[in-house]
C-alpha cells in the first residue's frame, strides 16, 4: 500500500474516533444551548418547583423527577433479588442444562424490543393490576415498575453471572472440600467476594431503568402529580420529553424538555463515573 494512502487511512481512523467521541460533547452542547434561555431568564428556580401547568405559567418538572426516581427505584428493588437468584442458579447451583438454558433465555431477552414489553403489558398486566388494587386505572407506578424490572433483569443477571464466575476458583474448591452446600457458598463466599460486581450491576441497571422511555410512557399513566403510592399514576422525565415534543418551539414549556435532557445526561455521566470508580467497566455488557 502506498505510504500516502496509509497516512490518510490512519488519519481517517483518528478522525472517526474524534468524531464519535465528540458526539457526546455535541449532545451536551445542544442540551445546554437550548436550555440557556431558561437559565438566563431566572426560570430555573421555577422549573424545580412543583406543578406543570403551561396555561397557568408553571413549568415545574419536580413531579417528573420524583416519578423517575420512584419508578426506577422500585424496579431495581424488585429486579435485584431475582437477579441475584437467577445468576446464582446459572453459576453456582448445580443443575445440569437448566442453567445454560436460563442463561440463553436471558440473553435473548436483551434483544427483545422494549415496545413489545409495553404492548403486552397494557393488555395483560394493566387490567390485572387494576383489579388487584380495586382503584385506579391499572396504569400506575406498580405496573410500570414491574415491567421495568423485567426489562432490566437481563442486565443484572448477565452482569452478575460474569461477576460470580470470576470469583477465584480456589475459594469455591476449598468450600466444596469443606462440604459446603450451594446456598452456603452463595452467602458466605460468592456474594462477599463479588460484592463490587453486584453493586456495579445494580448501578448499570439503574442507568437503564432511568433512561427507558417506552415502558413508563405506555404504562405509568403520565399524570402530572408526585406519586403518593403504588397505585398512583406518574410521569417520568423520559415520558415527559416524548409527550411534550409535539409543542411549539418558543415557549418555556418547550425549553424545559431540554433541561430534562440535561438532567438525564448528567445522570448518565454520574453512573459512568461511579462504575469507573468501582472498576468494572471493562467487563461491561452490550446493554
Amino acid at each position: 500500500m502506498k505510504p500516502l494512502v496509509e497516512k490518510y487511512l490512519e488519519k481517517g481512523f483518528f478522525l472517526s474516533t474524534v468524531l464519535s467521541a465528540s458526539i457526546t460533547i455535541f449532545i451536551l452542547l445542544f442540551m445546554v444551548v437550548f436550555s440557556l434561555p431558561l437559565f438566563k431568564g431566572g426560570h430555573i428556580v421555577h422549573l424545580l418547583r412543583l406543578g406543570w401547568d403551561p396555561y397557568h405559567g408553571s413549568f415545574g418538572i419536580l413531579p417528573m423527577v420524583v416519578g423517575t426516581g420512584v419508578i426506577a427505584s422500585i424496579a431495581l428493588l424488585i429486579a435485584t433479588p431475582f437477579g441475584i437468584g437467577c445468576s446464582a442458579l446459572i453459576s453456582i447451583f448445580p443443575q445440569g442444562n437448566f442453567g445454560k438454558f436460563l442463561r440463553k433465555v436471558v440473553e435473548f431477552m436483551t434483544g427483545a424490543p422494549t415496545v413489545i414489553y409495553g404492548f403486552v403489558a397494557i393488555f395483560l398486566l394493566v387490567p390485572f393490576v387494576r383489579e388487584i388494587f380495586e382503584k385506579g386505572t391499572g396504569m400506575c407506578v406498580l405496573s410500570a415498575s414491574m415491567m421495568l424490572a423485567l426489562l432490566i433483569l437481563p442486565t443484572i443477571v448477565l452482569f452478575l453471572s460474569d461477576a460470580f464466575n470470576s470469583v477465584p476458583k480456589g475459594y469455591l474448591d476449598a468450600a466444596d472440600a469443606l462440604g459446603a452446600t450451594p446456598a452456603q457458598k452463595l452467602i458466605y463466599i460468592v456474594i462477599p467476594s463479588a460484592w463490587s460486581g453486584i453493586i456495579s450491576g445494580m448501578v448499570l441497571a439503574a442507568g437503564r431503568a432511568v433512561g427507558d422511555t417506552l415502558i413508563s410512557l405506555m404504562i405509568a399513566g403520565n399524570a402530572l402529580q408526585i406519586p403518593g403510592g403504588l397505585s398512583d399514576s406518574a410521569r417520568t422525565l423520559t415520558a415527559h420529553i416524548a409527550l411534550i415534543i409535539a409543542s411549539d418551539y418558543e415557549s418555556p414549556e418547550f425549553k424545559s424538555i431540554f433541561v430534562c435532557g440535561l438532567i438525564l445526561f448528567a445522570f448518565t455521566a454520574l453512573i459512568v463515573s461511579v462504575l469507573r470508580l468501582l472498576g468494572h467497566f471493562e467487563t461491561l455488557r452490550d446493554r
Binding site: Y55, R130, T137, A223, L224, Q225, I244, A246, S247, D248
Partner: protein, 277 residues
C-alpha cells in the same frame, strides 16, 4: 301510458345517476396530472377524514404523496406556521395572536361536538354541567356519589396541545381546573381506547369518534348526537379547521377544495361529523 311513464322515469333515473357519478368523479379529477407532496399535521379528530381523502387521492394519482400526522391542534398551528407542514389541522379557532404571527388562513370543513364518554359497562348516562366540572376538577372522586359502585373515578384528559381539550375546558368546564391525578392520552383515538378498556374511566372525545366501544353521556339533559350539535342544542361544539400559512400552494389548494367539495363533504359525513356545505 303507464309504460311510457315508467320508461321516462327510468331514463331520468339513469341520467341522474350517471350525472351524479360524473360529478363525483369530477371532484377527484382536479388531481389528474398533478405531482407533489402534501404534508398534514395537527388535530387528531381530523385524522380519519384526512386519511380517507389521502387514500382516495393517492389511489387515483400515484404521483401525489400525502402524509398525515397527529399531535393536536397546537402542533398543527406551530408546524404550519413554521412551514414544516402544508396544512395544519385545528379543532379550535386559531387565536388572533396565532393568526397574526403566522399569517394563517383558516378553512372550516366540518362541525363537530365534544362528548363526555364513559365505558359501556357504566350505567351513568346523564350528568349536569356542574357535576362534570366537579368530576374533572377532582371534587367528586367516587362513582358512588353518582349512583354507581364504590370505585374511584379515573379521569382521562388530553395534553396541552389538544384543541379538543381547549374547547372542552372552555365550554364544558367553564375554564375550571383539571385534576392533577388525570391520566394523559395523546389523541382522540387514544382516549377512546383508554375508556373502552377501563370500566371506571371518564373522558372526552370528538362526537365524530363515537362508536359502540364507549358510551356518551348527556349533559344537562342533552345527548351529544349530531342532530343536537347541528341544531345548536348541544353547546359543546366546535368547527374543524384546516389552516395554511398565508396563501396555500397549488396542490394544497386543490386538496382543500377537494375536502370542501361534494365528495369531500361526503367523507366528512361518513366519518361521523357534520358537513359545512
Amino acid at each position: 301510458m303507464k309504460l311510457a311513464i315508467t320508461v321516462a322515469f327510468l331514463c331520468m333515473a339513469t341520467l341522474l345517476s350517471t350525472g351524479s357519478s360524473y360529478v363525483a368523479a369530477g371532484d377527484l379529477d382536479r388531481f389528474s396530472g398533478q405531482k407533489g407532496t402534501i404534508r398534514i399535521a395537527g388535530g387528531t379528530a381530523h385524522i380519519p377524514v384526512m386519511k380517507e381523502a389521502a387514500k382516495r387521492i393517492m389511489s387515483m394519482n400515484p404521483d401525489i404523496k400525502i402524509t398525515v400526522a397527529g399531535g393536536g391542534s397546537g402542533v398543527g398551528v406551530k408546524q404550519v406556521g413554521e412551514g414544516l407542514v402544508d396544512i395544519g389541522n385545528t379543532g379550535r379557532k386559531a387565536t388572533d395572536d396565532e393568526i397574526r404571527r403566522y399569517g394563517l388562513n383558516m378553512f372550516e370543513f366540518a362541525i363537530d361536538g365534544i362528548a363526555v364518554v364513559v365505558n359501556p359497562k357504566n350505567p351513568v348516562a346523564k350528568l349536569k354541567r356542574q357535576q362534570t366540572a366537579d368530576i374533572f376538577s377532582g371534587k367528586v372522586t367516587n362513582w358512588k356519589e353518582l349512583g354507581w359502585k364504590d370505585r374511584g373515578i379515573n379521569v382521562y384528559t388530553r395534553d396541552a396541545s389538544s384543541g379538543t381539550r381547549k374547547v372542552f375546558w372552555k365550554k364544558a368546564l367553564n375554564k375550571g381546573k383539571i385534576t392533577n391525578t388525570a391520566n394523559f392520552v395523546k389523541s382522540n383515538g387514544a382516549m377512546k381506547s383508554a375508556i373502552s378498556v377501563d370500566p371506571y374511566g371518564i373522558g372526552y372525545i370528538s362526537v365524530g369518534h363515537l362508536d359502540p366501544t364507549v358510551r356518551s353521556v348527556a349533559i344537562d339533559g342533552v345527548p351529544p348526537t349530531l342532530e343536537n350539535v347541528r341544531k345548536g342544542n348541544y353547546k359543546i361544539a366546535r368547527g374543524l379547521y384546516m389552516n395554511t400559512g398565508g396563501v396555500p400552494a397549488k396542490l394544497t389548494k386543490l386538496f382543500i377544495e377537494y375536502i370542501l367539495s361534494k365528495e369531500g363533504q361526503g367523507i366528512v359525513i361518513e366519518k361521523g361529523f357534520i358537513a359545512v356545505k
